[in-house]
Each structure stands twice: as structure tokens, then as C-alpha cells.
Symmetry: D2
Amino acid sequence: MNRKICAVITARPSYSRVKTALQAIKDHTKLELQLVVAGSALLDRYGNTIDFIEKDGFTINEKVFMVLEGENKTAMAKTTGLGVMELANVFYNLQPDAVLTIADRFETIATSIAAAYQNIPLVHLQGGEVTGNIDEKVRHANTKLADIHLVASEDAKKRVEKMGENPNCVFNTGCPSLDIAAQVLKAPKLDFNPIEKYGGVGGNISAKGDYLVVMQHPVTNEYKAARENVLKTLRVIDDLNIPTFWFWPNVDAGADGTSNGIRSYREINKPKNIHFFKNMESVDFLKLLVNSKCLVGNSSVGIRECSFLGVPVVNIGTRQNRRLRGENVIDIDYNEDAIKNAIKLQLANPKKTKSNIYGNGDSGKKIAEVLANTDLNFHKTIMY
Amino acid sequence: MNRKICAVITARPSYSRVKTALQAIKDHTKLELQLVVAGSALLDRYGNTIDFIEKDGFTINEKVFMVLEGENKTAMAKTTGLGVMELANVFYNLQPDAVLTIADRFETIATSIAAAYQNIPLVHLQGGEVTGNIDEKVRHANTKLADIHLVASEDAKKRVEKMGENPNCVFNTGCPSLDIAAQVLKAPKLDFNPIEKYGGVGGNISAKGDYLVVMQHPVTNEYKAARENVLKTLRVIDDLNIPTFWFWPNVDAGADGTSNGIRSYREINKPKNIHFFKNMESVDFLKLLVNSKCLVGNSSVGIRECSFLGVPVVNIGTRQNRRLRGENVIDIDYNEDAIKNAIKLQLANPKKTKSNIYGNGDSGKKIAEVLANTDLNFHKTIMY
Amino acid sequence: MNRKICAVITARPSYSRVKTALQAIKDHTKLELQLVVAGSALLDRYGNTIDFIEKDGFTINEKVFMVLEGENKTAMAKTTGLGVMELANVFYNLQPDAVLTIADRFETIATSIAAAYQNIPLVHLQGGEVTGNIDEKVRHANTKLADIHLVASEDAKKRVEKMGENPNCVFNTGCPSLDIAAQVLKAPKLDFNPIEKYGGVGGNISAKGDYLVVMQHPVTNEYKAARENVLKTLRVIDDLNIPTFWFWPNVDAGADGTSNGIRSYREINKPKNIHFFKNMESVDFLKLLVNSKCLVGNSSVGIRECSFLGVPVVNIGTRQNRRLRGENVIDIDYNEDAIKNAIKLQLANPKKTKSNIYGNGDSGKKIAEVLANTDLNFHKTIMY
Amino acid sequence: MNRKICAVITARPSYSRVKTALQAIKDHTKLELQLVVAGSALLDRYGNTIDFIEKDGFTINEKVFMVLEGENKTAMAKTTGLGVMELANVFYNLQPDAVLTIADRFETIATSIAAAYQNIPLVHLQGGEVTGNIDEKVRHANTKLADIHLVASEDAKKRVEKMGENPNCVFNTGCPSLDIAAQVLKAPKLDFNPIEKYGGVGGNISAKGDYLVVMQHPVTNEYKAARENVLKTLRVIDDLNIPTFWFWPNVDAGADGTSNGIRSYREINKPKNIHFFKNMESVDFLKLLVNSKCLVGNSSVGIRECSFLGVPVVNIGTRQNRRLRGENVIDIDYNEDAIKNAIKLQLANPKKTKSNIYGNGDSGKKIAEVLANTDLNFHKTIMY
């Protein structure tokens, strides 16, 4: 009998990150993939991730509506509580041999609790990293609830082990988001017109010359500052007047601030050099990135994919603090002059060094192998 | 303005454990206690803990009904999810400066999430210990969600720090359950008739001569074995024919197994030497304990209070595995002969050595001092 | 394609009442039965109805744990809210052609909402009757949410139609609980020893001579009086000193009062002429009833089954107020003398007249026929 | 002691409708208003009703986030279930003497259940009317759960009584939405520039000449047709080329269809004669209405306020079917030609007859008087 591995996808970036791992699980002769799509991944206004998942050929076993409207911290907590209740049912019905929880978004702990409390072995992807917000707490709590750890770097592996996890249960499989990056590196040409293919709103810019890409997410602990911060970046980008493809943030307690900032800036200033997208297929997105002059913002894409691809990055603010990074990144505070100068620096002397700190582009397969061959157990004690 | 400290009591043993800390918070000139009584602490069939709390003079700010009936693992998970949703409301309304979550029962993570996700500094009591079930996962996940750690031993302190917590936020305050034990040690005379005062059911035994005390809880991961295990202890105790005061287990996924085992054994065998209680005031319970010949079962009381009091203990099974213990304890498996022999050994050559590994009897005050004077913060990153 | 009829069983008495209808649906060539067992029907301490359901040969499609502990009115409301959330999932997954909600227990409105709000045709069983508590409100609200009405008497039919329901959608199928009564009437001999077969607790009485049966439920609106009321009946029955088989009440907001009253009376007074049961198979129960001298209490069994069977009834209090009744019933208040006199009257001059006001014993089949052949629709407007 | 009347506002139109009643309750010497704002009334993307409430000088006692994202029927059911759970807490804490539930939106039944199940007298506003969707079921179920009925017309009064409600508990107070209309009739001049004051998006039109107003809501049972229907109206209005102020629909299971229809039509066709608003203060809205040539759509405003104000209405589709209406209304199907002709007819020969079928403009005060002086009771039985 094949091992049933139940993965819970709760948001767009989580899906992009683990897509090749899901494919490798699906394709593995000893494994059966059970796919649960939940939370904002089901919702239209966060980019209908579920449509991409289905287009990629995955069968969805269960859909879990759990996002409570409100976009404040209380709603975030209650969404998580609701997620525990709903996912407890789902796992009870699907009876998986192991459950996969991904990284550190606030609602991922719902997956962890619903599995761990029902004595289902829990596999945590991408533990052991360091940031500095609520996701920091969530990530390490996920580690302590999990039985198997699939981490993305040696750095992360050491950290998970030091927290008292059994080294036999910690595997550095690299980050599966690099698997797609590795494919893109083999055929990096931008072979589509982004606006024609993806619509979006804003200036009708071209991707044929130099252009920038921006991804800026709200930072949970700085909820009120989200709007102000995104306005700084908007003014800099508007002022630089270089064609720029800007991606909307994913859902978070601060989503409202960032999204509202963008919306009102657009209405009033109508910046002609910026085009806004909600979402893009991973391969297309990485092609857009690899051909860009620089990624600006605070996305983890700047830390992972861009280090592997050798794309220059201007990383703003604290969101990626203490994450292991390559030499392609310039770190900068939320200061308009500083942001502008950093972008100019990357345009003049681009930092394009590639590195393999987050894997070699074969993580999906490594992950499937671990899941097929490791002992699955839900009974653990701290090591020391 | 006084700091508002919101403590959430979800079960009888949690209350007993922290009672002196609650009192010290209430009495502290710089602190204001907000008390939330939740879960099984509200329920009649788990001993109406709330009545004891009110009789002790505490004002209850909120009651949270969250226990979903079912007594299986799915219900346990859903109770936790419901707890997150309810407690999110409670904290939103009470606006505490810090929330106190206690130890490692499954539903304590609901308190942790509801506080942490709303950016309320979280204080975790009794982290850093080692057991081997779902409470092991819960305890360490609570640690990773918490900002301040009040641990009960040097052993626990080291463990919490090694998990990457900031040593400035880890305080060895000892276990407040010993504060009551310290009072009892000063006046240990059994000055009441247990059956007269507390009713209960079973044989009409006397506490004037030699007697035993039994507390045996179900072990979550061995759900189905709970009934069988308690029957072993019942047969041994029945057979030994020494007057025995037996305390019902607290609620857990296996409560049913243990409770059913006891109920059916009683109906059929009507053991004359055993009297059963649901609950007892802490001071009375400790007096009963300090005058007993031996505590039998798997309660943490055998590890903590009894080490401080110098009461001999026969500790059965895995529930207290790897907990730091004094020299008063004999550890034994679920084997009837072994249990019987261990009890006989403690009767013949009682191990009465006292120790201070879990504190000196002043933990409540130490806890209040830390809460009054430490910086409260909800922003942390792992240390290494 | 067969019509999928999804029935939701939430409690022991609901199951007994509709068992033959479920069987007829299951057996019908044009229908497929989807069975959901929920609420107290899943719980050990309410008699493990689910075991009886499975023993009767039904396949259970979904189990829904939704009972929030607390046994107060707030918990009752929250159990209902939780039920809506859970059953919404269940119906989404099962995609039935119609949902069956039964009678008027508080949680049945959860079934109604979860179906109606998802545009699933809702069939309500046993609407149009009259009582006087929260179940009165629930019953008629169920009627207004339902599309098809299967009522148990002409009286009820008129009432449902007068509320504005389309007469084409109201069917007097009789009460299916009488189907079993009709079988029992054909072979009424008490061919088993109740205590041997069902255990229970209390006096070791015989069913060979004269005996009484008691069923007394708490009345929601008189929550605090439940304990007092049951004590009155207990004292009368104890005093009369006739062998009596007493059935525990089902779960309700007042269950605690009634159950506690019984428990404490038993502990203190140890009445030798009373034996207590939690549950009994329907056929056996009806045999016990048909051979008894009188049914005492406030159960609807006294109104329905006993009118059909011609069993004398002493009906106490307001719980069955305004229900259509046969000539077998003496109605009486909660007054010890009155209760005692009424029982004596039934013993001396038993009222044994049979009637068919609640059907002819073929309701199950009638219900299945309606479900197989009526237009199913979820769009209705009030008639006048 | 003043009677505490707890009103639950769950959506923008509900607030507009009862605003003067809330004011009259607040101002009444024998009453105390407890205001709970819940559901979409709290949410930014449904027009931030809460801001209007606060600006109107009301104190909000509790906020209840309960809207589950998803905009499908399952989410609608689950939102309702969640509402029951949350509101049960709220009423437990506020301990009102009566709870006010308003009209027939799907989530209003949550208010009804949470009150009725806790034995709090329930007052239902605007029962007894007729429509034809899920709100039809909800409205009458609310009636059956309620103890006091405050209806808006003689027609509605008869219907509620015929459903078996006690005539002593049914009061025709008229519709409080007309109270504001009565004020506006006294000073009907359009003394503000709508676009300057309220922003909004779309063509920069003037309210100085002739103009139309459109309000079109999705109809729950025709979920998929919502988009198509709104496009018909959009094309007609675009084609007529008369300045038109268009109001976005409120939240419903079909909100997405209607809103998406509007959004995509705007993006593609950029109609110059239409300006879109999310919300407007009631008085301003009624001034805009009273000076308009015609109201187009399916809003109940066309039936109530416009009959009182004598504003011509083109009412499209089934949403207002069987509602009592004045002579100002032309009813029409979703047919582009028919809609266009009806509007032209109203422009050429406007139907401006005023009527008092929904009250005289003093409903708020009448409602407060009933609440101050009627017996409050939670125990009822059907009348016949």
C-alpha cells in the first residue's frame, strides 16, 4: 500500500514554493498525494491559486474555506482556530499516513495541530529559518509539533537540531522553489508579453527593454506602517520612471494597509511606468525575474530564487532579517533616498553572483524520496 | 497603571499548580489579575474547578465553554480550534498586557495562539520539561510561541535556552505547587475526615491508620490501553487490601477508558478498601498525601510535591518519563507483580528524602515579581 | 439515478422515531439513504445510539461531533452554531437531493439551515405539532425553512398549512414510531428479562408481575426546576413500592438537573423497587411498555406509542401540553399527591383505549413513497 | 431599571432601515440601547457601515467578525453558524432584556437562535412580508423564533397572525426607513455635490439636470445569473446615456457575480454617464433619490421609501415579488428592451403618487414605545 501524503496549501506563495515537491510525490511509485486547498488559496481576491493548481494537473481532495473577513489580528487568530476545526475533520476523513505543513504563514499551525493532535505524523517543510515576526513564532512552533523536518539549507538544519529535534528526522532537501528556477535557467528567454498574457492594471509598459520587478508584503508587527511603507516604494519607483512590474501582496493582517496604499496611489497619481499583477504562473514569473534589472521589495523570492538565478535584489526593511542570503542582495531600510540609491547601484553595478545555499534544483525529488523511505512516527521527545 | 496579567485556567490540575502564583499576582501592587476559566475547569463532571476558584476568593473575568464532547482525538483537536476562536475574543475584550499559559495540556496552545497572534506578550509557565506524548509537542510549541518563560527547575531553564530562547527571558521561579506544600509542611496534621468532608463513593475507609493514595491518568498515545492499565492498578490495590484514597483522572482523550475502567470495576468488584474522590482542596489533598504511606499512579504530583514533601512514590508507566525526580520515587511498568512489589517496598522501607529541585516554596511571589518587572515584548527571534 | 436522501440523526429518541422510515428509504428502489449521525447520538453517556444504528444494519456516511459541554443554554446555542458549520461541510460533500430534519430538538435547526442555505430541498418530519418550550419555536422555524412536510396527524397537517405552506407539499404520513408498535402488537409477549439483557443499575426487580415504566425529561424553560421535579416523581414511585423500570433522560440544557436528581436520590435512598436503564432496543422497549400497568412521566411515547398500543399513561407537567392525545392519558401537575393518585387510578381502572390518531403502523413506507415521488424544490413563498 | 434592548446590525441596508428606531430607543427614558455591529457591517469592502454608525453618535457595545470568505452558499451557511456561536457569547455577556433581529438577511437567523436558545425575548422587525428566495425562508423562521413582531404594514400584520402568532404580540409600527424619508420630504433640496462629497469611481456626471439612480442586488437563488442580469441593466443604462448614479450591491452569495459584472463592464466599456458609489449617508441618499427621475433595479428602497416619496421606480426581476407596493412602480423582467421602455415611460409620464402603506414617518418612536411598554416573554405556543 502506498503511503498517503496529505499536503495542505493555504496560499499562493506556498503553492509556488512546493509545486515540484507535490509533483514528485504524485509521481512517486510508493506515494499517493492527497491535496487539500484551503484559506486564501481558494479566494478570488488573492489570485485564485486553486485555478493554477488544477491547471497544473493536480486533483484536489478537499477544499477548506476558513478565512474570516476582517483583516485584523483577531480575525487572523480566529481564522486559525477555524482552520484547526475544519482540518481536523479533513484529516479524520482522509486518514493520511503523514501530513505536510509548509513554512510559517500564520494559518499553517492549524494544519500542524489538526494532524499532531490526531496522532498523524507531521512533516514540516522549511523549518529552521530566521525572520522576526509572528511567522518566526509560527515556524518554530511548527517545528516542535512536527516529526519530520525537511529544511532548505545547512544553516536551517543546524538550527532545527539545536532546538532538540532528532537529527535522524532532519533532512536538508533544499528549497523546491529552486527546482523551477533551475528549469528557467536552462531556457531563460522571456517568450511572452506579460500584459497580454496576464492583464492586470496600470501603465502599458514593455518588457523588451530594462525593467524592474517589485514585490512588497505587509509586515505583521508593523501593521499600521504597511500603508506608509508601500507609499515610499511607490514614490521611488514612480520617480525613477523605469518600466516596473509590480505584484500585489498576499493576504495577511496588514494586507489592507499595503493594498489600500497601492490602490489610492494609483487612483491619484496614475503612475505610467508601473503595471500591477495579481498573480503569474511560476515559470513565467521567474522568466520575468531573470530578465529584469533588479527585484525590489521584501519578498523571500529575493533571498531564494534570486540568489540561485543571480538576479540583483534591493531588499527593504526587516521582513527577511537574518535569512541566509547570497551576494546578490543589497539590504536597505524604509527610506526613500536609500531605496532609490540602492536601485541605482544595482542598475549601475549589478550583483549577479549565483549560489546554491538553498539547493541545487532537485529538491522536489529529494523530498519525495524522504517521504517514501523514512520511518513515520508521531511519538517524539526532545533530544537533550 | 498596573499591568494586566490574564491567566487562563483550563483544568483542575493547572489551577492547583498555579494557585499561589495567581494569589501573588492579585496581591501585587503593580499587577492586576484577569482570570479566565475555560474548558474542563467549568464542567461538573471534571470536578467543578470553578467552584474552588471562587471559594478561594478570585474574581472570574470570563468563562469560556470550549470542550467538545466525544473524548476522542478529533474532538480534542476541535476543542483546541474552538478555544482559539473563543479566546481570541476574550483577549480582544480584556486587552491584557500579558497572557499566562500554563504547562502543556493540549488546549493550552489555544491560549498561546490567541495571544501571540494578537501581539499580546505571552508568558509560559513550566516549559522546558520532558515527557513523551502529545503534551511534549504542545509544551515546546508553547515555548516557541511565548516571549517570557517561567520554568520550574535549572534543568528546564537550560532546555528552554537551548531551544533558542533569549536567556534574559527565561526565569527559574520554581514550581508554585510547592508553595502550598511548604505551608502544609509547617502544619502537616490531617485535621479533617476526608469522607465526611468530601463525600465521594466507595468503601467507608479511615485515614487514621496506614493508607495509600492513587492518582492514575490516561496516557494520550495509549488511548486504548487506558482501561486495561487502570484495571491492573485496581486489582493490585484491591488485593493489597490497604485503605486507599483514589482520585479520578482529569479530562483527556483517554479519560473515558480510565474512568470506565474504574466505574465498571467498582460496579462488579465493589472493592471495600478503596474510596474514590473527584476533587479535593489543595491543602487538604497535600495533608492527605503527606500522611500517607505512599502515592501510587502516574501523576506529576509524585514527581513534584512528593519530592518536596518526602512522600514515597510508586510511579507507573511512561507518563513521567525523563521528568527530573527526587529520590522518593520508584519507577515501574504496567505489570501487576511489579506494582505490588514496589508498593510493598515503599511500605517496608519508605523513601522519604526531601529535595528542592522544583523550588523552595516561594514560587508564587517570584512569578509575580518577574511579571511586574520584566520588559514585556511580543517581538522575538531565535537566538543563534 | 436514485434520489439521495440524507437523514441527520442527532439523538436517541429521534432515531427510535424514524427507524422504520430510514429502513423504507434504504429499501426503496428509487432512493439512496445517506445517514449522518451527529450530536448526542454519538456519545457514550447518552446511550451510544450509534451502536444501535449500526446493529440495525445501517451504513453511516458521516459522524458529526458537535455537542459542546456545559449543559447550559449558552452551550446549547453554541452547539447549534457548531452544528450548522459542520453540517454545511457534510452536505457540501454528500451532495444529497434532499435532507431530512426530524421534529424539534434544538439542534435540528442546524440541519435545516445547513441544507436550506445551500439550496438543498429540506424535508421536515413531524412538524405542525404543539408543545410549549424552545422546541415549539424550533419546530415551527423548521417548518418555515423546509420545502416538504411529513406530518403525523391531520391536526398537524392543518396547522402547517395554516402557517402558509403549500398544501401540495404537506403529507400526513403518520408517525413512523408506530410502525414498530404495530409489529409489537402482533407479538406482544415480554420474551426477555430486561435486567439480564440490558444491565442497568438499581433494585433487582422482576417484570413478571405488575410493574410501571417511567420516562421523565427535563423541560428546557424550567431548567432549575428539573431536579426538584424529578425528585417528586422519585419519591412517589419509591413510596408506591411497585416494581418500576426507569429510563434516563436524553441530553438537554436541563439534563444535568434531572440526572443529578436521580443520581443523588439513588445514592442516598437506594430505592429497591426501581431499576434504571440508559437505553433499550425499540422493540424490547415497546414490549416492556405494552406489558406494563402504566407509563409515568412526560415522554412523547405516552402520547404516541401508548395511544396506539392502549397503554395507560400518567403524563406529568407541561411538556406534552396541547399535543393531540388519545383517551389513555391522565394529565397531572408536578404535585406528589396528584401523581400518586393518578397512578393509582390507572392501576385500578386502566384507560386502555387504542387509537390511530398518529397513524396506522405503515408510516415508514408512506414516507419513502413521498420522498421517491414528490417534486423536490427549494424555492417557496408563503401561500397567502 | 431601564430595559436593555440589544440590536444586532449585520449589514448596511439593515442599519439604514432601523436608524431612527435605534435613535428612539437610545433616547427613550425607559430604555437602554445595546448595539452590536456584526458581519459585513464591519468590513471595508461593504462600505464600512460601522463608521456611519459611529458618526451618527451611537456607542457600539460589541463587534462580531463572522463573515467567512468564499462568497458561495457553503460559506453563507458557515458564516451563519459562526454567527450563532459568537452572538451566544455576546448575549451571555450583555444580558439584554430583549434582542432585536432585523428583517430577513441570511445571517439574521443567527441573532434569533442565539437569543431564543438563551431564553431572551426576541423582537423581530419587518416580518410578515413576501419575497421569494432564501430570505423568504429566513424571514418566516425568524417570525417563528420571535416573541414580539414589529411589522411595517397591515398586510404583514395579517400574515404574521395567520402563521399562528399571538395578535397581542404583533404591532404595525410602519417601516422606520420612512422616518428619514419624512425628514427629507420637508427639505428635499439636493444641497451637495454627490461626487465631491462621496468620491466613488466612473464618469464625472452632474446631479443638476435629469438623472437616474440604480441599485441592483444579486438574487441568491439565481447565483449564476447575477452577472448576466447586471450586464443587461448596465447596457441599457449605458445606451440611454442619461447621467446615472449607481450603488454597489451589498454582500450576498451572489455578490461576486454582480460586482464582477460591474467591474468588468467598467474596465472594458468605461461608460461615461455612470458614476458608482459604495455607500452614502441615508439623508443624502434620499435627497439624491427624491430629485431623481427614476430609481432602477431591484432594491426594496423602490418599494418602500420611493412609495412614500413618490419617486418613479422601474423594478426589475423577482426580488421584490409580492411585496406590497404603491402606484409609483413599474415591474419588469430581465429583458433589455423591456427595461429600456419602462425607464422611458417613467421619464415621459412619471408615476409620482405618494402612499402611506409602509407608515407615516414616525415608526422609530412607535417601535421604542412598544419596546418600553409591552410585556417581554420568551414562552409562546402557536395560537390555533
